[in-house]
């Protein structure tokens, strides 16, 4: 396979990953600030961002540690927040399962919401991509996102200044996530799944440890699959 298509897949990935700096930068800074203010030292703050590399779970853990929650409860809650990653893992497996185990491990380590959603959308839209192109694309998406998560965490921990609330950066997460989802609404089955996801996500938001999210996701996946079957039978 020509090296040039792999190289161009990598750079396409870099381009597609870059917009998410909008959300990575402020939230990494915020984690550095919040972690430091909670009493973590620099190495511990960086330990979170490098070893865990999952924003929502990191914030959850630090919040609960500040509240002096028992260690096992901290771990169970933060890992529950990350359970969706297992769904991501399953859904990327058909696309990169042929890769050697160390490359799959590397993909797994960097499997954050953004790299997953962008990668999955690309692989679905271009079923003829080779394995090498898929991996190059994924690592391209990872390139602007994950290193900046570390760097901006460090900046936040050292500078200790939050970005002022007037910038409304709290809403960077919803906007960037919705921007990833909307282009994926390609068929009636996708729209139905997303609709059920919203309704169940809101209705089950009261459930503890983020478990409502998982129930909502499974419900939405079942609806998507059933609508797909039903449309297939009608066609």
């Amino acid at each position: 396979m020509p090296a040039s298509t792999v190289k161009s897949a990598y750079w396409t990935g870099v381009r597609h990953g870059a917009p998410f700096l909008l959300v990575i930068v402020p939230f990494a800074v915020l984690f550095g600030v919040v972690g430091t203010e909670a009493g973590l030292n620099l190495a511990q703050v960086m330990g979170f961002s490098v070893l865990v590399i999952a924003g929502a779970a990191q914030f959850t853990a630090v919040q609960m540690m500040s509240d002096n929650a028992p260690t096992l409860i901290v771990l169970a809650t933060a890992l529950a927040v990350n359970l969706r990653m297992a769904m991501y893992s399953a859904s990327l497996t058909p696309y990169v399962g042929d890769a050697p185990v160390w490359k799959r491990a590397l993909v797994a380590y960097f499997l954050v919401d953004q790299t997953y959603a962008v990668g999955h959308a690309r692989f679905e839209a271009r079923p003829d991509m080779t394995l090498a192109e898929r991996l190059a694309y994924l690592f391209g998406v990872i390139t602007p996102i994950c290193p900046m998560w570390y760097v901006m965490t460090l900046v936040g921990a050292l500078v200790g200044q939050e970005i002022p609330p007037e910038f409304a950066l709290d809403f960077a997460v919803p906007i960037t996530f919705l921007a990833m989802v909307a282009p994926a609404l390609r068929t009636a089955a996708h729209v139905a799944a997303a609709g059920v996801s919203v309704v169940l996500g809101l209705a089950l938001a009261f459930m503890p440890y983020n478990t409502g999210l998982l129930v909502a996701a499974v419900g939405a996946m079942v609806v998507g699959a059933q609508v797909e079957l039903w449309l297939g039978r009608r066609a």
């Binding site: 999952a54 859904s91 797994a108 938001a205």
Partner: protein, 109 residues
């Protein structure tokens, strides 16, 4: 925070390992073995099944307003979805959401 240094590092390490195992689970264990059609049919909808449920509460009950419904944020979310759907372009969708949010926060203040 009352945890000892050792406890803090134990939490970080356990969370790191646990999160990696969640991410590696299927990629590692299934690898190139074929999954049944019905499983693949469900997995196709993973992004549109997870992300809307994750985001919907942030849109309807934003933390920045203490959980109160906020028209600029809801309009910004709607603009993001609309532009993303019509243009299939992530950057255009983010731009539409950001412009709508700042414009509405300014106008509706």
């Amino acid at each position: 925070m009352s945890q000892s240094t050792l406890e803090i590092w134990a939490i970080i390490a356990a969370l790191g390992v646990g999160t990696f195992l969640l991410r590696f689970s299927f990629l590692g264990m299934i690898g190139n073995r074929k999954m049944p059609d019905w499983v693949l049919r469900h997995l196709r909808y993973t992004p549109v099944a997870v992300l809307p449920a994750l985001v919907a509460p942030m849109v309807v009950w934003p933390q920045a307003t203490g959980g109160d419904f906020d028209l600029p944020r809801v309009l910004a979310a709607a603009a993001t979805v609309l532009l993303g759907y019509l243009t299939r372009n992530v950057l255009a969708a983010i731009g539409a959401g950001a412009v709508t949010l700042y414009a509405m926060l300014y106008l509706l203040g």
